[in-house]
Symmetry: C2
Subunit: 78 residues, 2 copies
């Protein structure tokens, strides 16, 4: 089963990488971009067909490895 995990910075956490992208887009002449925040996405192939079990495994994966829960939120779509 395919699942997607999206990890994003919490509100209020500074994102220098996003700021750099904003600056670069302005330099490149791309108008209309007010702010950018960068995150990570993980496309995961999970064994089995039980969505609830897959979600539980992915929650464990996020808590242990994929997200730094002090500064990041994660969202799991199974």
């Amino acid at each position: 089963m395919k699942a997607r995990v999206v990890v994003t910075l919490k509100n209020g956490v500074l994102d220098p990488q996003g700021k750099a992208i904003e600056g670069a887009l302005k330099s490149l002449g791309v108008e209309g971009v007010e702010s950018v925040r960068q995150g990570k996405v993980f496309d995961v192939e999970v064994t089995g067909a039980d969505a609830a079990a897959a979600k539980a495994q992915l929650t464990a994966a996020c808590e242990k490895l994929l997200a730094n829960t002090v500064i990041e939120n994660y969202q799991i779509d199974v």
Copy 2:
């Protein structure tokens, strides 16, 4: 207006970072993960309320900066 851009590696492109995550999850005892591929997500705040115009700007941003279109696909959700 908020928009989300997801940049992922094309099929067939090796993803050593994803492989490392797979290995780390196994070491940490997270079962049931068959494969992982990592990508990037950009949460963009766009000026104006015209979805078509925003999409055009974000396509330009992807082509110029956010994605390496030789090895990456991008998907824009406005």
